[in-house]
């Protein structure tokens, strides 16, 4: 059975190579990135191919690489919404936000917030959300790191893995800045693509195709029409000859029909805990699904570490082409992780019985080991490749987040708010200190969340982005009546509501944990009784986007109407800069006007 007693040399080798290459590239490009502008947006001259690979590399996080497979294995069909919306959220970004934001031209979202409303105060509010969303998004990355290291070195405590990976990446970012990151991210996309696709092709050739593996699971419809059933579930476990036979599912696994059908365990958990009938459960599941879709699609369009990359393209047309390529690159990638979940359900069912870093979240790492029985060392090599991919996944996303959060602290909080008179050298030094601070906090947060699912946590980060940045960007770009007060109220109330309800759900879930985290969060245990009585509220708290996004947009409209006297005076010019083709050169004109008026 694939439970290595000590660490496997192949796995270790592949992972070590990934880490060393990442660090080496970081150090190498540290030599060439000197100016502050290099550090923040890579000198604004990255080609479409590199930039698209880099955005994809940064975007495909531990959630995509490990979390989706784990969640599909655990919850079945409903979990497919995650990869689809992760990829398709980009379309919203492209349709409504990418072009105008690029034309407006600013280093970060706080820059945009300040420029659009001529308000340094608003910048401070916007900066807060870079950090809120960033920290929420680093937690699952850290869990990915802890899980992977615990897999490579059996017996290593989860938190040691988190601390180790956190330290390495923090050092790398502190020394290289974003210019190093662009190259590293681009290479890491291709490592991840290779690492997710090659093992799956080998596995499918051994264990039968994607569809064939799915057909081993019988839906309600299949059961209702017996003649259609050809394949029977074999009771034999561990038989190694002939065509592969599925292993027995443990009691902890969802049944075939629940797993395969929409509105399964993921979306119906709250209602079932409350003891509702299937008829009462189904509408709530539909609500959950819709809320999840809104969170993921709108959230993608508001992720701060992704948006900042639009500024690294030379012009708007290139930014659009980049988005197209990003959608293709990540779309192709996202077909693969669910396959791991499907095959894992059939052939690695013992993972259902474990939790935390030993549970389904590690199916991507462990599944290739299955073919070791037949093909010997090939299993270890493939498992080594997926481990390398996992390293690439959490390292690249964490690096990107660290850059944008550190940028917010060094560029905005220090450079603009605390010490506006600081020299570029001081800011660069501050960038390094901020990186170390942010890295440290991320490690502490990451160590807390072992019992939570990777993918679920990422979904929550998206829900917060969906209720704060997405309404801000969308409304600011398309509605000239927005005022600073309206934008700030909507973003703050919507974003904080989503943040609080997500935190509340996480704390009550952690209180259920049997390990040390259960004790730490025991105070929230009472919430679980409340959720049992109010399943609808539980769903709305777990997936807040369906009410927090409209709330945020509604507040923006109402407050802006009430304060319409404070609409910026040059709003027509601002809107022209946002929307007129760059060839007309309005941006340059606008900057000069600002300089004449301001200084």
């Amino acid at each position: 059975m694939p439970e290595p007693a000590s660490f496997d040399i192949w796995i270790l080798a592949f992972s070590a190579i990934t880490v060393v290459v990442t660090i080496w590239m970081g150090f190498r490009s540290a030599k060439t990135s000197k100016s502050a502008s290099d550090f923040f947006v890579a000198g604004r001259s990255v080609s479409v191919g590199w930039n698209a690979s880099a955005i994809s590399g940064e975007y495909l996080s531990a959630a995509s690489f490990m979390g989706i497979a784990g969640m599909v294995m655990l919850s079945g069909y409903d979990a497919l919404w995650y990869p689809v919306c992760y990829a398709c959220g980009y379309l919203f970004l492209l349709l409504f936000i990418a072009g105008p934001l690029r034309r407006f031209g600013a280093y970060t979202i706080p820059d945009f917030a300040e420029g659009r409303y001529d308000s340094p105060a608003f910048r401070k509010i916007a900066v807060c959300f870079v950090l809120f969303i960033g920290f929420f998004y680093t937690m699952p990355q850290m869990k990915g790191a802890g899980t992977t290291l615990a897999y490579i070195f059996p017996g290593l405590p989860y938190w040691v893995g988190v601390a180790l990976v956190g330290a390495v990446i923090t050092l790398n970012v502190a020394l290289g800045g974003m210019k190093g990151i662009t190259l590293v991210q681009a290479v890491q996309y291709w490592i991840k693509m290779f690492a997710i696709s090659v093992p799956i092709f080998v596995l499918l050739s051994v264990y039968g195709g994607y569809g064939e593996n799915l057909s081993l699971n019988q839906s309600h419809t299949d059961l209702a029409s017996p003649p259609a059933v050809v394949e029977t579930v074999a009771p034999a476990s561990g038989s190694e000859s002939g065509s592969p036979q599925r292993l027995d599912l443990p009691a902890a696994a969802p049944t075939d029909a629940d797993w395969l059908s929409p509105f399964g365990p993921l979306t119906s958990k709250a209602a079932e805990a409350a003891g509702l009938t299937p008829e009462e459960t189904k509408p709530l599941s539909l609500l959950y699904t819709f809320s999840l879709i809104v969170a993921l699609v709108c959230g993608t369009a508001g992720l701060p570490h992704i948006l900042v990359r639009f500024y690294t393209n030379p012009d708007g047309a290139a930014a659009k082409r980049t988005t197209m390529w990003v959608m293709i690159l990540i779309g192709v990638f996202y077909v693969f992780p669910p396959v791991f979940g499907v095959v894992g359900r059939n052939f690695l069912p013992e993972l259902y019985e474990a939790t935390g870093s030993k549970g389904p979240d590690k199916v991507v790492l462990e599944l290739p080991m299955l073919i070791r029985e037949k093909y010997g060392i090939l299993g270890s090599i493939l498992s080594g490749i997926t481990c390398a991919g996992a390293f690439a996944a959490f390292m690249s996303t964490f690096s990107g987040l660290l850059v944008s959060m550190t940028g917010a602290l060094a560029h905005d909080v220090y450079g603009r708010i605390l010490r506006p008179s600081s020299t570029p050298e001081q800011r660069l030094r501050m960038f390094k200190w901020c990186a170390i601070f942010v890295g440290g906090v991320s490690v502490i947060l990451g160590a807390l969340v072992e019992p939570l699912e990777i993918n679920f946590m990422v979904g929550q980060a998206f829900a917060i982005a969906a209720a704060s940045y997405f309404p801000l960007l969308f409304m600011s770009v398309w509605w000239r009546g927005m005022t600073m007060k309206g934008a700030a109220t909507g973003m703050l109330v919507g974003g904080l509501c989503a943040l609080l309800s997500a935190t509340l759900v996480n704390a009550s879930t952690l209180a259920l944990d049997k390990g040390p985290m259960g004790k730490l969060f025991a105070g929230f245990d009472g919430m679980n009784d409340f959720w049992k009585v109010h399943p609808l509220l539980r769903i709305l708290a777990e997936q807040p986007a369906i009410w927090s996004v409209p709330l945020s947009i509604g507040l923006m409209i109402v407050v802006s109407k009430a304060t319409r006297k404070t609409v910026p005076e040059d709003i027509r010019m601002k809107m022209l800069v946002l929307h007129a083709p760059e060839k007309l050169g309005l941006k340059q004109e606008y900057i000069e006007e600002q300089q004449v008026a301001g200084h």
Partner: protein, 123 residues
């Protein structure tokens, strides 16, 4: 811009141009978004109201799994491709429109230095 401040009365800076510009862009974006949203929100509804139809087997997959797990991606690429080519064409048109508008308004053919495509537009 030191010797010649932008003329607030020229066509590019007019309300008419901005209004027209934003409306055309928004219309394109909303049309593309609608195509996407119909499938995005329609699929859960189809699962809800026609579960047996969506559960039929297609090469081992259930129909709904095949749509969500595989076919959704090319569909979205197609929308994105259409949007990008249309929006680039739209930008070209707007540049020409702006140049035409300026030429008309200024009458004597005094070119706006910010519209590099003036020559093409009048051809």
């Amino acid at each position: 811009m030191s010797q010649q401040n932008p003329d607030p009365d020229d066509f590019i800076h007019s309300e008419e141009f901005l209004h027209h510009l934003m409306r055309r862009q928004l219309r394109l974006s909303i049309a593309c978004a609608a195509a996407f949203l119909v499938l995005l929100f329609g699929l859960p509804l189809a699962n809800y109201y026609a579960p047996d139809f969506m559960a039929q087997r297609v090469g081992g997959f259930t129909l709904t799994w095949l749509i969500l797990g595989v076919l959704f991606f090319p569909f979205v690429w197609a929308i994105a491709g259409v949007f990008i080519s249309r929006s680039m064409a739209l930008e070209e048109t707007e540049v020409h429109l702006a140049a035409d508008g300026n030429a008309k308004r200024n009458g004597n053919g005094q070119n706006n230095p910010n519209a590099p495509d003036n020559g093409d537009a009048e051809a």
